[in-house]
Amino acid sequence: MLREGLTRVAEALATPLVPADYFDMFDPLRKGADLRGRIEEIHMETADAATIVIRAGADWAGHVPGQYVRIGVDIDGVRTWRPYSLTHGPRGDGRISVTVKAVPDGLVSNHLVRHTKPGTLVHLEQAAGDFVLPPEGGRFTFITAGSGITPVIGILRNLFPVTDDGVLRLERSDNFDIVVVHVAPSQPESIFIDNLRSLDEAGAIRLIARYDDQHGILDVNALGELVPDLAERTTYACGPGGLLDALESFHDTKEVPLQVEKFRATYVEPGEGGTVTFAKSGVTIDVDGATTLMEAAEEAGVLMPSGCRMGICFTCVLPLKEGVVRDLRNGEITSVTESDNVRVQTCINAAAGACTFDH
């Protein structure tokens, strides 16, 4: 009652802002704030991969190893979100960490690995994802390629913590029989390889490392030779889309259970026109690349907010959940993936691919 009263007074004092806007000036990581984190440490793992240790805000609800967290960073002034696997179990210091590999043309990964300094605030969402092991244990094959190792390393570190005295064997981990098939272009580029080897040497897991430059590209159909008892295990795979597709059809034929972790493509190649869905209105239309979204939607009977119809008043902006649009005035492309939180002007943009609007 008293608390409610105080909140109302604080709101009356702060209007048109909310009290949180003022609290954020002093303590952005406090309880009740939008979830954020402060980058505290950055360790290079290989020449182009780094582990980033983050002090998450007070409302961080924790995670199950194997899950990922979406991180929003401001790059060139633009808030950009990407998912990253949490590479550890619950940490004693309460911090979280992700390991990021700077990929060619990777906007966010390069920014995080090469241009970020400790002390930077980032935006976070709660951990999510069902790439997690059942707590009772079982027999598993992990197939990982490149940075696809990251959710797996989180799971393994939680099951088999590495201390100065070597790998700890915990009772709760006795029921896990794990084979890891790890694929990388070459050995020096392999993140966490030392970690995997010490787990292998301690007998915690069986590691099968495959390097493209030594062993050639992995042939999915020959997996049975690498892991003879593959059919008696459940497979967990994380890596590039091509590998996952091949694994899916292979496991389908062999009727072996498979769990994959896919990170969505973060950039969609723009084309001309596409299928546009207005989710709330329940309308889906096919539009060409020269008609504005507003014209096309109005033509199809969708009630659209509109104003100047020339791109200056911003009355017509609608939340684009996913898709690509092109500004017909200058060809500027806006590419949006889930929860980027982007509103686009419908009066001057045309579809440049499939789009879904929250309208």
Binding site: L13, P16, M25, D74, V78, R79, C313, F314, N341
Partner: protein
């Protein structure tokens, strides 16, 4: 000021349609250059302004807790007035224009921002971003021309009620935010034309009353009560800060479109208007204010009204940077870039409002200050003849 097509020295008569297209192309190039270089520096700028504004507001409100002590009243009132001006001008107005939407920060976004002003952001965006910025200075279309209560153009017919407009303007200056609230409601239109009160109007009135209620409660109830024994003096401090903000923003906005030299346009002249022609209309329909950097920030960079009207969605910190290029373009095509110091422009706007409170021929037909010729044949030039 007389609509441009009726002027003896119509300053766009010499422009060919190729010229107009070339002007459009050059302005698009300026716009593209800004878009391409827009980035971290700009984001840091607006965040910094917001940080300074909030610190100043918080500090001033804290000082005003002791406003019974005279020096605290003076310092707190001055600080709060500056904070409110920054909030309305450099932050609110520009965020609501979508100038910072590109940052994808949901907290600094035209669709989520609410400002420290009596009129709800939603209603302001409708009349300002859409009506005023689209139909700038078109007689009968742009209600910002005199806000629907004053006569600011020779071509608006004189009525006896205009005799009062100097007093109305003074009143409007003191309580500008409420004037704007009524204006955003289309209140004048409903009252004068007897337009039927519809659901949309009722919804707007309800929204405005809610917003005004919150604003009044904050400045005249809750903050004074927090000051305990200083309640009464905090109330007068908040009132004074609001009035200072009102007078200042009223002055700045008058300077945007009312000074001598700014052109107006006939409704007919914008039929079938192209984007290039729209650009030319924006160039001639606005006036700038000269002054030091601090003045530009305090006017929300509306001192670069011409640049703002050409590119209402570009970040305000860039207007000053592109102003020399825009000015060059004016000179190249022999167009008048109207600019002057704040006192000069305020004087010019006030003079016009007082002059036009009287009929056009009050001083005798030949003495109308701009040399506009009421006896000249009334030629309504088609847009093709004027602009294209």
């Amino acid at each position: 000021m007389t609509v441009i097509s009726r002027k003896a020295d119509n300053q766009i008569a010499h422009l060919s349609s190729e010229d107009v297209q070339a002007i459009g192309r050059e302005l698009e190039a300026i716009r593209r250059d800004v878009l391409e270089s827009r980035g971290a520096r700009d984001a840091a700028y607006i965040r910094r302004v917001i940080q300074v504004q909030r610190s100043l507001e918080l500090g001033s409100r804290a000082v005003l807790l002791f406003s019974k002590w005279r020096p605290a009243w003076v310092v707190g009132t001055a600080g709060l007035a500056v904070a409110k001006i920054l909030e309305n001008m450099e932050i609110g107005h520009n965020v609501l224009h979508g100038q910072w939407d590109w940052m994808r920060d949901p907290k600094i976004h035209s669709s989520t921002w609410e400002w420290d002003h009596a009129s709800p952001a939603e209603q302001w965006k409708r009349t300002h971003n859409d009506m005023h910025h689209t139909y700038t200075n078109v007689i009968g279309k742009d209600n910002d021309l005199g806000y629907g209560i004053m006569r600011v153009d020779e071509d608006q017919p004189w009525q006896p009620r205009h005799l009062l407009q100097p007093f109305e303007n003074l009143l409007n200056a003191l309580f500008f935010e409420y004037g704007i609230t009524l204006y955003d409601l289309d209140m004048g239109q409903y009252m004068r034309t007897g337009k039927k009160i519809d659901g949309a109007f009722k919804r707007r009135v309800k929204g405005a009353l809610r917003k005004v209620g919150r604003q009044v409660t904050k400045d005249y109830v809750v903050h004074p009560l927090m000051s305990g024994p200083s309640a009464k003096s905090t109330l007068t401090a908040n009132f004074t800060a609001n009035v200072i903000r009102n007078v200042w923003s009223h002055a700045v906005i008058m300077c945007g479109h009312f000074p001598e030299g700014v052109e107006t346009f006939e409704t007919d002249s914008i039929e079938g208007e192209t984007k290039d022609e729209w650009y030319v209309r924006q160039m001639l329909g606005s006036a700038n204010i000269d002054g030091p950097p601090l003045m530009h920030i305090m006017t929300g960079n509306l001192s670069h009204q011409i640049e703002h009207h050409l590119f209402p969605d570009l970040p305000s910190n860039r207007y000053g940077e592109i102003a020399p290029r825009v000015r060059e373009l004016f000179e190249k095509y022999d167009l008048a870039y109207v600019s002057g110091s704040l006192p000069k422009q305020v004087y010019s706007a006030w003079r016009k409002i007082i002059r036009l409170s009287l009929p056009n021929d009050f001083f005798g037909a030949n003495k109308t200050p701009e040399g506009s010729t009421p006896t000249a044949p009334l030629v309504v030039l088609a847009p093709a003849a004027v602009l294209g």
